[in-house]
Amino acid sequence: MDYKSIKKFTMKILNSLKTLTTGNKKLPQTASGLALATHPQSGTDAASHIEIGAGSNAHSSVGSAAKPARMETRGLTVMYGKATGVHNISIPIHTRKVTALIGPSGCGKTTFLRALNRMHDLTRIARVTGEVLLDGKNIYDSDINPVLIRRRIGMVFQKPTPFPTMSIFDNVVAGLKLVGIRNRSILNEACEKALRQAALFDEVKDRLGDAAVSLSGGQQQRLSIARALAVEPEVLLMDEPTSSLDPQATNRIEELIHSLKKEVTIVIITHNMQQAARVSDYTAFFYMGKLVEMGKTKSLFTNPRQKKTEEYITGRFG
């Protein structure tokens, strides 16, 4: 071992110590220990990684605190009983980019997306094989707690899903409040931040105590997004988030996606080719449970390598 590498190593340790202490100093005014664990992108990344149970990752990620999660799938296959949902998908999920999944109905987009944060755990007949790597660690490993995975990989659904008995405020901070964060100022701060991110704050700031179900459909969907953002996920999965919305609300959500990708990696399913072209950086085309091709959105739409892709994006089938 030469001098340089030793110095580098020492610096790394010093740096990580620094991060930890500054993180601790911030404790009183910003967040409790629990809140820290939910802020994986803040200075104290270590906390969340240790919680995930990926012991080997904990060390390395201390040194690279600001580095966001890297995600990819390797040979991911989902079976429903004997039927195959998706077969052998290996794709990278580019960090802080928007990846669009397109393809005709029933091609396995949703199945694939739900495999990315272990939503299939609840379906008895679904069986997932292959790997989903988050920072190099397979989220299907037996020492991984799916609940903690879902804090890092959030999800927004096709239809708005406000919790019906809760107020707007309680909906947004549900992911914090229900795991034991009671500090009012932390919750207020998190609520405002998430609502601003979801471009909903100005519309609801005077009626945060109202029922979430009193909002319009488009507002409810943005509320669902705000709720997912409040736990500060590193990756956000969106399953046709605009399919039940009017053009104006769709527009707002697309703008939202655009501004979000500065901080969050996004995977979005859409049936709308224009939308895929507008919002995404990369596009993956699925057909009959298989990946046909994936590439930069621009080149996939202007110059598809596969005939199937071309036929689909020009509207000849699907």
Binding site: M119, V147, R152, F157, F163, P164
Partner: protein, 287 residues
């Protein structure tokens, strides 16, 4: 050819049939209530609520007599049964609806339906073997256990359907923000299903409160107040449906009148519970 007029006519006809069905449901209920109140009202007096029944001679000699021990006994036994049945029943209901992938789920479903269809008197026999035999005496607690077995499958089933009426997407939304499963059920699904849950518990309660058969050889019946309050749990206890039965088959006209009054009480008890629960579960948010 079915023209528009014919279809409109048929629509009206169907509507009338539905109204008729509604009336057929309501009329017997009204007849029962009116009949019970007319017959029993004369026997309702102050002493009815403050005196114990005693021997038939009390009524025959027009000495003060009443059903205070029955009223207290009913409340004690029914609520004991409720306390036993609600946690278990809700738990089983949550298992049925929220953990469909669990190994035990299909078995639980079949067993629960079997328990629901089982004659109530068998549940009394079961409680007899389980509690009365080892204790060596009929008791309020054994009656409560028997009634709990009446309530249990109803609560489990209504809990299941109340929870299933909440869209599955709510649960997924909860999981997607990193909440553990039990937390999702507790904080999002159950509050949304609250009205259904309470209604289910009430149906079970009302059903059990009217059962006489399971109590015949468990709480057994008693003409007197116990010497100590624990007697309502550990000694033979009187309950309204069973007292109603024994008053009705007695050979004394005075006791028949008291039987009608007991029926008024039983009806009033059930109606009171329903009203209270409706008030308690008024929606926080208007939807």
């Amino acid at each position: 050819m079915k023209n528009l007029r014919y279809r409109q006519y048929r629509d009206r006809l169907m509507e009338m049939l539905l109204v008729a069905a509604t009336i057929i449901v309501l009329v017997p209920l009204l007849i029962i209530i009116v009949h019970v109140v007319v017959n029993g009202f004369s026997a309702l007096n102050w002493e009815f609520f403050t005196e114990e029944l005693g021997s038939p001679s009390r009524a025959l000699q027009e000495r003060p007599t009443g059903l205070v021990h029955t009223i207290i006994g009913t409340v004690v036994v029914d609520f004991l049964a409720l306390a036993i049945a609600v946690p278990v029943g809700i738990g089983a209901g949550i298992m049925l609806s929220e953990y469909p992938e669990h190994m035990l789920n299909p078995t639980l479903r079949v067993m629960n339906d079997t328990l629901n269809g089982m004659p109530a008197i068998l549940k009394g026999l079961f409680a007899f073997v389980l509690i009365v035999k080892p204790m060596g005496t009929f008791s309020g607690i054994s009656g409560a256990v028997a009634l709990a077995f009446v309530m249990l499958p109803i609560i489990a089933r209504t809990t299941e359907s109340a929870l299933l009426s909440i869209p599955w997407t709510i649960r997924e939304a909860g999981l997607a923000i990193g909440l553990p499963r039990w937390r999702v059920v507790l904080s999002t699904v159950i509050p949304a299903a609250k009205t259904g849950l309470v209604t289910g518990i009430l149906i079970a309660f009302a059903r059990a409160a009217g059962e006489a058969a399971p109590l015949l050889f468990t709480s057994f019946g008693n003409n007197y107040l116990p010497n100590h309050w624990s007697g309502f749990i550990l000694e033979p206890v009187d309950t309204l449906p069973q007292r109603l039965y024994s008053l009705a088959i007695s050979p004394y006209a005075e006791w028949h009148a008291m039987g009608w009054a007991a029926a008024i009480l039983l009806l009033g008890f059930v109606i009171l519970c329903f009203t209270a629960a409706r008030l308690a579960t008024r929606k926080r948010f208007k939807t």
